[in-house]
């Protein structure tokens, strides 16, 4: 049996690999990073920040998200208050196009360059595709902002339609490690999600794929998830932290520990040195204001500002102010299609 590598030597080795050579950690080394003692957390975060600055630069991509169709979803994602299978207080509601455009306008005024239209569905039907088409055209006519979508699982035809509309990025989270997925969702498979991500890439849209941490997965499964994301090589990885919602099967799970969350952010940055690593839902609960700053200095280079789909976030002004304090410029708009 070999002696475990001392933490200091491990950090020196991965510094050379990831910072100097730009080669992300494999699953085994990601697990070692996730298992580091609290005493090494500051060093790990500092390395992750150096890696982000070296391979991504100082800018931060700012995004707003909105729910076009809320609630009433037939799927059973155990963390989600929008599933129609649980006794959640969230009621089904559709957003009209003028309100969608108004939300895109107010998002752009924060400095955001990304606006993601989300629907709680297994996959889009004809009605939703028509609503999305109208919405994307209306936003593009009125607002200078990139539009992305998150509409569940796609057919090849639907992926083609979205690409033709100018949707530059498509979000479809794998949510968790393949080995843990069936403990989180039973109405569809991890592989079905993977297939949609393949379709998105084949149509030339940027792939946005992340997940939720703190669903009860082990550290080994977190490392597995990071490796699976690295294999996918998405343009963006949103990291959510479970905000246990009343009425859902995961409603009584504990909130993730802040240090674990920070260690996970750093480990994912080291596994994915060049990706946009986005702070998403649950960070207010898990990390608070101070932790949000530590995350920005520990590998994060993108944020969702303001509210989420059914829950509230920090005021957008607080995040924009934090970026100014940290001397991190907001990424400028570049239309990619």
């Amino acid at each position: 049996m070999s002696t475990p590598e001392p933490a200091e030597a491990f950090l020196a080795r991965i510094r050379e690999q990831v910072l100097e050579q730009g080669q992300g950690l494999d699953q085994a080394d990601t697990l070692t990073a996730l298992e580091l003692d609290d005493a090494w957390l500051d060093d790990l975060l500092a390395l992750a920040h150096d890696v982000r600055m070296r391979w991504c630069g100082p800018t931060v991509e700012v995004e707003g998200i909105i729910s076009l169709k809320t609630g009433g979803c037939p799927e059973d994602c155990h963390f989600c208050s929008q599933s129609g299978q649980f006794a959640s207080p969230v009621r089904a509601v559709w957003l009209d196009i003028p309100s969608l455009v108004a939300a895109a306008q107010e998002t752009a005024r924060t400095g955001a360059t990304e606006f993601c239209i989300v629907a709680a569905v297994r996959g889009p039907d004809e009605r939703l595709m028509e609503q999305v088409a109208q919405g994307v055209r209306a936003i593009n006519d009125a607002v200078d902002i990139n539009v992305s979508c998150s509409l569940g699982m796609l057919t090849p035809e639907q992926a083609g339609v979205l690409a033709a509309l100018g949707v530059h990025r498509y979000n479809h989270n794998l949510e968790t490690a393949r080995s843990y997925f069936d403990q989180v969702v039973t109405t569809h498979t991890w592989e079905e999600r993977w297939e949609t991500l393949r379709l998105v890439a084949s149509e030339g849209m940027e792939v946005c794929c992340g997940g939720i941490l703190g669903l009860g997965e082990t550290l080994a499964q977190r490392a597995e998830f990071a490796a699976q994301l690295a294999e996918l090589d998405p343009a963006e990885v949103p990291l959510n932290f479970l905000n246990p919602r009343p009425g859902t099967p995961f409603g009584d799970l504990p909130v993730m520990d802040g240090k674990d969350a920070l260690r996970t952010i750093a480990a994912f940055r080291l596994a994915l040195p060049r990706t946009l690593l986005r702070f998403a839902g649950g960070r207010e609960l898990t990390l608070g204001d101070l932790g949000a700053q530590q995350g920005m200095l520990g590998g994060i280079n993108a944020v969702i500002v303001g509210n989420y789909l059914t829950t509230l976030g920090r005021p957008a002004t607080a995040d924009i102010g934090m970026l100014q304090e940290l001397n991190m410029p907001i990424k400028a708009l570049t239309k990619t299609l």
Binding site: G64, I65, I66, S67, T70, P89, V90, R91, V93, L95, S99, A102, A103, E106, T107, T110, A112, N243, P246, E284, L285, V305, G306, N307, Y308, L309, T310, T311, L312, G313, A316
Partner: protein
């Protein structure tokens, strides 16, 4: 209907009297889901910078 004031918890929809510690904690990061006057589940639309809740009986509230 005479509206005297808040009678229902806007987070869980139960009578407002009594302890609602978890609801109070939730309320910092959750818009109201139930009408405080009648306890009906409301339609709620959350946007990046605001939210709008609609009770079919008592109308709109926003934040």
């Amino acid at each position: 209907m005479q509206i005297d004031g808040v009678q229902f918890c806007s987070q869980c929809g139960k009578a407002a009297s009594g302890l609602h510690e978890q609801c109070a904690a939730n309320a910092t990061l959750s818009p109201p889901r139930f009408c405080a006057y009648c306890g009906r589940r409301m339609k709620v639309q959350v946007s990046p910078l605001s939210w709008l809740a609609i009770c079919s009986e008592h109308g709109e509230s926003q934040g």
